[in-house]
């Protein structure tokens, strides 16, 4: 060990020097405090023996200076003192000394003290290097977390429509990563898909699971898959990647304002609350399924419940972090306290803020124990957005020939804003490779057995888009196909009457009947034929194409005359779909029997 002796007494110093050298230490001597500090700086000893009374700088001052110079490491200082009064010894300790030895010294005692100091010094160094390693590690982890968070938020947020005017939400993650996943996006037919997922646990491990789910959500929603299909796909994904003890309680919604319907798939999330125009709780939709990622789906697991939506309806959904939030005495917020807000004493528009304020008051600063998410869907505003935003960007075309009504004026006002949405929603498709218009045709035949098992439309639209993907037309072509298809199925094959849907009870009855009749369907078919013909200008340059679509069903035909007659009143209940198709296409004609529709959809480069 390197030992520095600071003593102005030559004899004393020499004795010590000799003694310690014999023990195998490397010894340096300084004749006063000033020289001691200088030598400490140049030789970096590991232990200092310090006299007190010395010229130039005394031992107390020198000790203070040495401690200041070695603040990052531990160098023990042992005072050599003739002083025995308590005050002198206290001063030794106060100036930074770690121990003292009274003169004349006992050799054994000196050795013992040096050894003891050496033990402390080693312990100190070990602790110090561990601390440094821990700090380095922590810094590395933090850097990785920051990068991951960047990736995470880009993946989850890309295309997220959470800023849509009809949505209000609050997400309060417990840590840097949110274990609650909240995503929203429009499907090609203009329906709003929303998903809230709550993974087991919190933080990074929970967030990692959220990434594949958000990708599936955006991808499948854009392709027109139903929320039941999306839940199925997500479940399969999570089963393949997550350990048994992790799962994701999730709720998927589809808000379709045109059909005034809400579709719900709820697996393990708290009740979804429907609140009426008076701020009163109208309906709670309880979880009906197991959470995602527990076991493979059977057909029943895809089941979606359907509810009628009124324009004044507000939908609230939340993760259990909200009702299980605790206050300092560990009491939970609870569903009762939450649902108490929906007793009709509050204006509906104030509910969201009131709930948040009440939650904060309740928690009274208590530590958060879970991620908290609350979302409100204001159907009145979803209407503006969905109608104007995705499908009817070309409002003028839709309005042509229709009587000017207050409703339509309202649409106009919101149109400017809606177009922004439409642009961001289509950027993903705009990146697709441009294929010049060519000649091709596709034909599909769907048997009752197929119609009972899957919705074939996403597959059809994907096939079309792979052959010819006119930028910005995907949603319109999808809507056209979807409306013709559902007419063929609901009215042509299943014999349902849209007028049934005009009352809330009828609305439910319509969908129950649809389900029953589809399950019992034995005969009939739907045939879909698509022919694409390129269009040329007078210089024989390709300028676009015409898509001739024929949808034929094997049913007895439906009352298309009635459908025609409702065209002008296209904001009424019945026949909205066909009116829409007429506005999007250049030609729509039914055969006399009413079971075969011919449509021409024109697009230009």
């Amino acid at each position: 060990m390197k030992i520095l002796i600071v003593d102005d007494d030559r004899i004393n110093s020499t004795i010590l020097h000799r003694l310690l050298s014999r023990e195998g230490h490397q010894v340096f001597s300084a004749e006063d405090g000033q020289a001691g500090v200088e030598m400490f700086d140049s030789e970096r000893p590991e232990l200092v023996l310090m006299d007190i009374r010395m010229p130039r700088m005394n031992g107390y001052e020198a000790a203070r200076e040495i401690k200041r110079l070695s603040s990052d490491r531990f160098v023990p200082i042992i005072f050599l003192t003739a002083v025995t009064d308590e005050e002198g010894l206290v001063q030794c300790i106060e100036s930074g000394g770690d121990d003292f030895l009274t003169k004349p010294f006992n050799r054994i005692l000196l050795q013992a003290k040096i050894e003891a100091m050496e033990r402390i010094r080693r312990l100190h160094n070990e602790l110090h290097s561990q601390k440094e390693e821990l700090e380095r590690h922590q810094e590395r982890v933090q850097q990785e977390l920051d990068i991951s968070q960047h990736l995470f938020s880009n993946i989850v947020r890309a295309g997220n429509l959470l800023d849509a005017p009809c949505l209000r939400h609050i997400s309060r993650p417990m840590s840097q990563f949110n274990g609650d996943l909240l995503v929203a996006s429009y499907n090609p037919a203009g329906g709003l898909h929303i998903m809230l997922g709550d993974f087991t646990g919190h933080g990074l491990s929970a967030a990692v699971g959220a990434m594949p789910l958000s990708e599936l959500f955006y991808g499948m929603t854009a392709q027109g898959y139903s929320i039941g299909d999306i839940a199925d796909e997500m479940n399969a994904k999570l089963l393949s990647i997550m350990p048994t003890r992790m799962f994701c309680a999730a709720c998927l919604l589809e808000v379709d304002i045109r059909q005034q319907s809400l579709m719900v798939w709820n697996g393990g999330l708290p009740d979804i609350l429907l609140v009426d125009g008076n701020g009163r709780l109208q309906q709670s939709i309880a979880s009906y399924h197991l959470p995602l990622g527990i076991r493979p789906f059977n057909p029943d697991d895809r089941k979606v419940s359907i509810f009628e939506l009124r324009p004044e309806t507000r939908i609230f959904l939340y993760s259990d972090g909200l009702t299980e939030a605790i206050r300092p005495d560990n009491q939970m917020y609870g569903t009762e306290r939450l649902e108490h807000h929906f007793d009709g004493n509050l204006l509906p528009g104030l509910l969201f803020d009131t709930i948040l304020a009440d939650l904060d008051m309740f928690r009274a600063g208590a530590q958060q124990t879970d991620d908290i998410t609350l979302l409100e869907i204001n159907c009145a505003r979803a209407n503006e957005e969905a109608v104007s935003g995705t499908i009817l960007a070309d409002l003028d075309m839709f309005r042509a020939g229709a009587q000017q009504t207050d409703d339509i004026t309202l649409l106009e006002i919101n149109c400017a804003r809606a177009n922004e949405e439409a642009v961001s929603g289509t950027t993903a498709h705009a990146r697709q490779k441009f294929i010049p218009p060519t000649n091709w045709s596709l034909s599909f035949f769907f048997s009752p057995q197929l119609l009972q098992t899957v919705d074939p439309l996403p597959a059809v639209i994907n096939a079309v888009m792979n052959l010819q993907a006119p930028a910005g037309h995907r949603e319109r072509i999808y809507t056209t196909l979807a409306e013709l298809y559902s007419n063929a199925l609901d009215h042509g094959l299943l014999g349902l009457d849209t007028r049934t849907k005009q009352t809330p009870e009828g609305f439910m009855r319509y969908y129950t009947m649809r389900e029953e009749r589809l399950a019992a369907l034995e005969h009939g078919f739907i045939r879909l034929e698509l022919t694409h013909i390129p269009q040329y200008d007078e210089k024989q340059q390709k300028i676009g194409g015409e898509m001739h679509i024929r949808v034929e069903d094997g049913g007895p035909g439906f009352d298309h005359h009635h459908v025609h007659s409702t065209l002008e009143g296209n904001l009424g209940h019945g026949g909205r779909g066909i009116a829409l198709v007429r506005s999007l296409c250049t030609k729509l004609a039914y055969n006399e029997a009413g079971n075969c529709a011919d449509v021409v959809y024109r697009w230009t480069i």
Binding site: T244, G268, L290, D320, D370
Partner: protein, 104 residues
């Protein structure tokens, strides 16, 4: 702050009782409580998870129950969750765990 676990075994049955908070901190304790029995899967052992004294249950605890179910033979597992107080029963039912376990 987490709960405590006590175990009672008979020839065919293992009863695991959880007092206090059943949360992620109980993971290794809970696993240790059943692991011996699940090693030999032919024994058709019955498990009873007694929640009489359980005050709170979080999603990690639900995950532990799933893990027990898997290690006890998934669909062949005979697991009963007994005596849950109403709030906890509600949590189990929201997750629709009655389709995976016998809840009594």
């Amino acid at each position: 702050m987490s709960g405590t676990i006590s175990i009672a075994r008979t020839d065919q049955e293992t009863t695991i009782s959880i007092k206090g908070r059943f949360n992620f901190e109980m993971h290794s304790q809970f696993r240790a409580a059943y692991q011996e029995e699940t090693v030999d899967k032919n024994r058709n052992r019955r498990f009873v998870i007694d929640l009489t004294g359980t005050e709170y249950i979080d999603s990690s605890a639900l995950g532990m129950l799933l893990l027990l179910r898997e290690e006890a033979g998934t669909n062949d597992a005979d697991i009963e969750i007994a005596n849950a107080r109403p709030e906890i029963r509600k949590i189990l039912e929201t997750a629709n765990f009655q389709r995976l376990f016998k809840i009594t």
